[in-house]
Symmetry: C2
Subunit: 718 residues, 2 copies
């Protein structure tokens, strides 16, 4: 369903309309009038005849004309009645302001569920509950009560009314940009982040999407939608609730689920979302990305009128992964011609007083720098805009001239300029002009650098995207049918765990090499199996009731002789029975003793918000002590599998250190893709653990595999 | 020498005084007049009779009265003459504005050296060169040309004129704080950071010291001074030039040396300096620390009028190492009494509308929170200050009432309050009042959190300081005399390297356990030594000409039998001669084969800015691949030695993982202290490498030791 009837509603019922000026039901109508909403307003309140000159209706169903949307300002307990009433009238959507739902605990969650059910039955989509409202600034459909928010082309999705207020205030006071829409997402009871995202992707008035998120009900669908959206429009996002106290706070605020923030961060970035950590960089990043061309390469020139700012900017940009190439000799020569001898022209460029008498020299320098094909963008830092204030008024006019020139340069060269000016808060006209030409100006050097950083990040994403979304599945119906049978059998036996041989078989169906394991029932069979294997073997107990085999004395390594094997078989069986007399023992697995190799751990689990996720790391200390692991939301593409390996700090060990040969990263990449395919094929898999996998110079061995099932789970297909 | 005559000069000569309004020599006088300097001004220019009504002198020596200080605005080439002239007059100090010295390359460095020599000969201390000048705001001694800088009690030391301008502008526009002094440190040719620091430590008008640093000529003396200073006054510092481009930029700006920034960061922190990374947090941190009591514990309460800000603040504070304890039941009960049912009272506290009708409730909450003994400080986030703007004017008066109450609370409870208000830039009176009471207010939530963070950090430093400066040296004159003799012998032989037995001997003199090594000259002696050792041995070539013993085939491990030992001895000698026929071979070292243990690496070197520094890490992958190392400036205290071990991520391995016993951290700590003592004892040591050291459950073994000498080096005693 399109959200047009809701976000572009032409007629709005205000349920809980009031004559009391302190009430939301009064303010909503007053705001719509003041902000000049051109649609129709219907106050609804059984106790009033009219409000602010509008006829007042007892119930929504009484309204004569069509009603697209209802703003419901009445308390939680009244909602079910109101929604049924709206249903009768054929209202398409409702904004529910009231709190007291999912964010308050179990009772609230139940009520929320009930509200959604009634809404669905009545074909009504809900914004909220627990929201400050929504605004469509173009149509002056303002259901928030915040007036004179600046109109523009940034769509704002926020789970906090105060953060929305913060961002809107910032836009108004510090930029010339504004918003196409604001939606207070609230508890996401019905309408979810991904649905708004799709609306904004298509909306022609929206050029960038700015999001404040505490938690997501359906991170997986959001990611799918983000993949589509970020190719067309930048999405800028801050997710709070990273820390434990932050999660507690988010929980009591929007009832948001605690998320694995490392997963979220990587997943968002992978989908092309610009993830912001500092709240004071959030609006600037959106301002910049909504109005400037992303960088075509990663290389920035810094133009400064003082060494200190240049040095700090160089540090900051380096931290952000932006490079500052030494300028070409040709470019340096051109700069030298117009700057004093003391100027630094390698990059950063320090004009060394060369602009003191004539600030248009800034524009000349900018022109030279942007013409250099190696320069992808320009960061101007220092006093620009303040020459007129600080030195002589006549210089202000030259600054304005320079601003006009630089503004046109951005369009002509299709390269961004970002400006830091310490005079920004004094609002000189030259800076106003820069902003008019879409060049953002900040008084924080750090924020200016960050904006340059996001232009580089988003540009890099757009250039590298082509390779990202190719998920390589080798679906073979036979594999899936056989695999499904293995799982079915386990579930039918009432097990929520696959036996080691079953788990390994499942992996083999999807391409893993056979390991030569044999399941045996007696010591004789064990000896026979070992003879066929033809080298030292490992014996492991196989029982659905014994998950931690070593703890149960169920593992014996490196057995060579028939005597050792017989003795170990008996030991294992005895230990298992001692460990759990009721254990259902299926036999003993005889496997070839794996050669020494590099230990790797691969695991998957189901994240509350993002569905299946995969973890990868090197075994032992690297994972246990140093937590050197990489996460991805599944499924993963070939590129992601590779990137995932490269993401861990100990990747260099895989590459081979101290002249050693490298380990078989291709085999490892294929294994990661296999895991992705398996998880995607069988929604019943709740958790998988390949621990350890031994990687060799050539090939690898799955030493152990564990799969936990959950028959209830249904996962949405990617 | 006291800097009083310079920084509190009562009489100033302006050398290069001018009637041309665009010249620095005019502006300087104009500024002194406008800013009402109460001392005496002497223009110096041979071509003028008078300037701005002041009698003009041809030379400084011509001036009748005493002259404390000269501001020299003439170019670099004129300096030597001017300084000699100043010398004749008995001038105490000079500010040298001109650039063209150390920052421009070799010729500039030479000229700079020459200038310093002439100044020293004439008893003149120099500020600069390559500086924007200095200001003493109390005495209105303004030699910068920047007018109406706000006066206050923050002393500003900056190596960038633009950064000084940035900080002063920020103070003026966004705070009610100001500066006692500004010194543009420039190239530090003569007067250095630590000398200014000592002046400000004693200065009664200065309560905090704010520094922007690109590089330091004498980081070691600065650190020594910082240890003294930070106990009395907070020092807040941003060091740029961390990245390679940043270093290039700093080099061309102030000729600053590239520093090991990791060393600098740890060293500064250890000395109690508050190190800031983001330039937009620099002034706020100083503002906060100059006016609020540091926190007595690490525990903050967040008070918010919206969940979003509270959640973000909780994340930020967690990142900064600040904790947010759940409030006591008593405190929660008190809050519940005055807040609506929907309010969150565990911490963060969200008033949930409880302040909408009466913002004085903020003060009531603050009072309850600050009374809680577990709460060390309060962070108020959200709309405070904006109730009057956003809702009703009458609320503004209540906000003012709340501001008065909270201001008094800070004094009464001796606990800090920091405020985030998104209405800060609209300058409501309530926020003005808060600042009057020394409560800082920021419109960036991130900056407000950072300020809370620095109050916690500085408080923690002050509480934990007592243990820090106790350097434990077991100076024994005998050890030092014997050690010095070893070094002397090597140097006399023309060697800049100690042989392995010499290096180990040196360590033993300072307390290291004897390893049982024997230096032998023949295979027979080797066998005999091994017999005495009584277990497997290692043979290693000993030659000042063979540093990399393994490369020269000079090492044989794990030799048990007499035959093996004989054969290996011959092999080693032959290989050594093949490797370097001219090598001066002193024999072969027979050592007991070390038992397996945990490999550790300890190294020292001389940092350009900080003198001797020590590095510590676990051997192998941890150092080589993961760069998991800790640095300290030497000497180190017992606490530092311990902290240094704890600083590495792989510390948990030392503690013992997976039920293993822990390694002997006490022995390791003592070894670090020994190294510290050795380096402190023998200034000729340029580099030391203990690689590997094997650590055991009990004790450790120095398997190899290498010491490089530099007879030229003289190190200042700590």
């Amino acid at each position: 369903m399109s959200l047009d009837k809701i976000l572009k509603a032409k007629s709005v019922a205000i349920v809980g309309a009031s004559k009391n000026e302190t009430k939301r039901g009064y303010q909503a109508i007053r705001t719509l009038i003041d902000e000049r909403f051109e649609g129709v307003i219907y106050p609804v309140n059984p106790k009033e005849e009219s409000i602010l000159g509008y006829k007042c209706y007892a119930r929504v169903a009484d309204i004569e004309g069509p009603v697209d949307m209802a703003l419901i300002t009445t308390p939680a307990r009244s909602l079910l009645t109101v929604l049924r009433d709206c249903g009768k009238k054929g209202v398409s959507g409702a904004v529910i302001i009231a709190g007291g739902f999912g964010e308050t605990g179990v009772d609230g969650r139940e009520l929320e569920q009930k509200v959604v059910e009634v809404a669905q039955k009545n074909d009504i989509r809900l914004i909220g509950p627990n929201t400050s409202g929504m605004m469509n600034l173009k149509d002056h459909l303002n259901l928030v009560g915040l007036r004179q928010a600046p109109e523009g082309n940034i769509a704002l999705l926020s789970q906090s009314g105060n953060m929305a207020l913060t961002l809107i205030t910032e836009a108004k006071l510090k930029s010339q940009k504004g918003f196409s829409y604001y939606v207070g997402v609230g508890n996401e009871a019905d309408l979810r982040f991904h649905e708004y995202l799709e609306f904004f992707r298509k909306d022609k008035d929206t050029r960038a999407i700015l999001m404040y998120v505490e938690g997501m009900r359906d991170g997986r669908k959001f990611l799918q939608q983000a993949y589509k959206t970020t190719l067309e429009k930048p999405v800028i996002l801050l997710k709070s609730g990273r820390s434990s106290i932050g999660k507690r706070s988010a929980g009591s605020h929007t009832g948001a689920l605690a998320g694995i923030s490392e997963v979220a961060r990587t997943a968002f970035k992978r989908a092309g979302i610009v993830v912001i950590k500092r709240s004071d960089q959030l609006f600037p990043a959106a301002e910049t990305l909504s109005s400037l061309p992303p960088m075509k390469n990663n290389q920035v020139a810094i133009l400064a009128d003082g060494g200190g700012h240049a040095t700090i900017a160089a540090d900051m940009l380096t931290d952000l992964g932006v490079t500052m190439p030494e300028l070409s000799e040709k470019t340096q020569a051109k700069l030298k011609k117009i700057l004093p001898a003391a100027a630094a022209v390698r990059n950063p460029v320090d004009v060394a007083g060369g602009t003191d008498a004539d600030p248009t020299v800034f524009a000349d320098c900018a022109d030279i720098l942007l013409k250099d094909p190696h320069v992808g963008g320009l960061l101007l830092v220092g006093l620009f805009g303040g020459y007129g204030i600080r030195f002589a008024e006549s210089l202000a006019l030259m600054e304005e001239d320079a601003a006009h020139q630089m503004g046109k340069m951005v369009v002509k060269r299709d390269k961004p300029i970002v400006v830091h000016s310490l005079y920004s808060s004094e609002r000189p006209h030259a800076l106003h002009l820069l902003r008019y030409y879409n060049i953002p100006v900040y008084d924080s050097l750090d924020i200016a650098c960050k904006c340059m950083g996001v232009l580089s990040e988003y540009g890099t994403f757009l250039r590298s995207y082509h390779a990202k979304a190719n998920f390589v599945f080798n679906w073979r119906s036979k594999a899936r049918a056989e695999g499904a049978a293995i799982i079915k059998k386990a579930l039918e036996e009432g097990r929520n765990v696959l036996l080691e041989p079953e788990a390994k078989k499942l992996m083999q169906l999807h391409g893993a090499a056979k390991g030569g394991d044999v399941l045996v029932k007696s010591a004789d069979e064990a000896v026979e199996a070992a003879t066929r294997i033809g080298r030292s073997v490992v014996l492991k107990i196989v029982s659905p009731d014994i998950l931690h085999k070593s703890d149960a004395g169920g593992v014996r390594l490196n057995l060579a002789t028939a005597g050792e094997i017989r003795e170990s078989f008996e030991d294992i069986m005895n230990s298992a029975i001692r460990y759990n007399p009721d254990a259902d023992i299926r036999g003993v697995l005889v496997s070839p003793m794996a050669e020494k190799g590099l230990e790797v751990i691969i695991g998957t689990k189901i994240d509350d918000q993002f569905g299946p996720v995969i973890m990868f790391g090197l075994g032992g200390i690297m994972v246990e002590i140093l937590k050197d692991v990489a996460f991805r939301v599944l499924p993963i593409s070939e590129r992601s599998a590779r990137k995932m390996m490269e993401d861990i700090k100990s990747y260099k060990i895989l590459e081979g250190i101290r002249g050693e040969k490298s380990y078989d990263r291709k085999a490892l990449k294929n294994l990661l893709l296999m895991v992705s395919e398996v998880i995607e094929s069988y929604p019943e898999i709740e958790e998988m653990d390949l621990n350890p996998v031994l990687v060799y110079q050539k090939g690898l061995a799955l030493v152990d595999a564990r799969i936990i099932l959950n028959p209830e789970r249904k996962q949405p297909k990617w």
